[in-house]
């Protein structure tokens, strides 16, 4: 009973965040040290609005990002790229997934033994989305994205192909 209380107390803050569309992305620093490249972005509230204000009106990409960001409360990203396969513990995703309660809905699952595994979860709020979580686990890359606030997935996906990156439709994707 006592152990159960301690576990509940430890999970309580994370559960509270998950209610708001945010999850606690707890990843050990040692993972970034092992990665050849890592991205750690934490933008919330005032900082997010400030960053959005400095996006250019003249640049179509930046204008589109600003339109999407206007409805958001926070963006949190962790992404790690490794030189070799199996450099990270795949249970990291399972641990983070535990924070997602019953009000989170999995809308996309892509599973592969050799390529990337992608899971997309949303937390609906009426007709809109209160939060979005993406887990992408590839042999040499681990990415976790948490977007808090009302986001249009089609608009978000349409950003791909900009930033100088070719659209997936033009890229040859092999399936096993």
């Amino acid at each position: 009973m006592r152990k159960m209380m301690i576990v509940l107390l430890l999970l309580a803050p994370g559960a509270g965040w998950a209610q708001s569309g945010r999850i606690q992305i707890d990843i050990p620093d040692s993972l970034a040290a092992r990665a050849s490249e890592s991205v750690d972005v934490n933008l919330d509230g005032a900082l997010l609005r400030l960053a959005a204000k400095f996006l250019s009106d003249n640049d179509a990409d930046e204008r589109q990002v600003r339109d999407i960001v206007r409805q958001l409360e926070g963006i949190y990203v962790r992404s790690y790229e490794f030189e070799d396969d199996g450099q990270y513990d795949r249970s990291i995703v399972a641990r983070l997934r535990l924070q997602l309660g019953s009000d989170w809905k999995r809308i996309v699952t892509v599973q592969s033994k050799t390529r990337d595994n992608v899971e997309i979860y949303v937390r609906p709020r009426g007709e809109t989305i209160a939060g979005l979580v993406i887990f992408s686990a590839e042999p040499r890359e681990l990415t976790i994205v948490n977007i808090v606030g009302s986001i249009d997935l089609d608009k978000l996906a349409s950003l791909e192909g900009q930033f100088g990156i070719p659209r997936m439709g033009k890229v040859e994707v092999k399936h096993e």
Binding site: A51, T143, E160
Partner: protein, 93 residues
């Protein structure tokens, strides 16, 4: 009167007039409480220090904003890539 008795007369210990100690202490306190007058050099130094602090704070603010803007673009790029990638794979299957 010889020199010895003259010296004794001059160096004879006498008590200060009444209230002398109080007047001295009052003057000391007054001197300490009066603000020191800043010379032109001190004023220029203070202005230069204030300007340096303002420039440093402004520079930090600009740096933080540019960093946040860059982080935002990176975050949106990664998020959009992952969503589009998943959509594409789902459509292909």
């Amino acid at each position: 009167m010889n020199i010895e008795s003259e010296l004794k007369e001059v160096l004879r210990r006498t008590d200060p007039p009444s209230g002398f100690g109080d007047r001295v202490m009052r003057r000391v306190r007054a001197d300490f409480s009066r603000p020191a007058k800043a010379g032109p050099r001190t004023r220029y130094r203070a202005l230069a220090a204030a300007a340096l602090i303002a420039i440093a704070l402004g520079g930090w603010g600009v740096h933080a904003t540019l960093r946040a803007r860059s982080d935002l673009m990176v975050a949106m790029r990664i998020a959009s890539q992952k969503v589009a990638q998943a959509q594409h794979q789902v459509n292909r299957r």
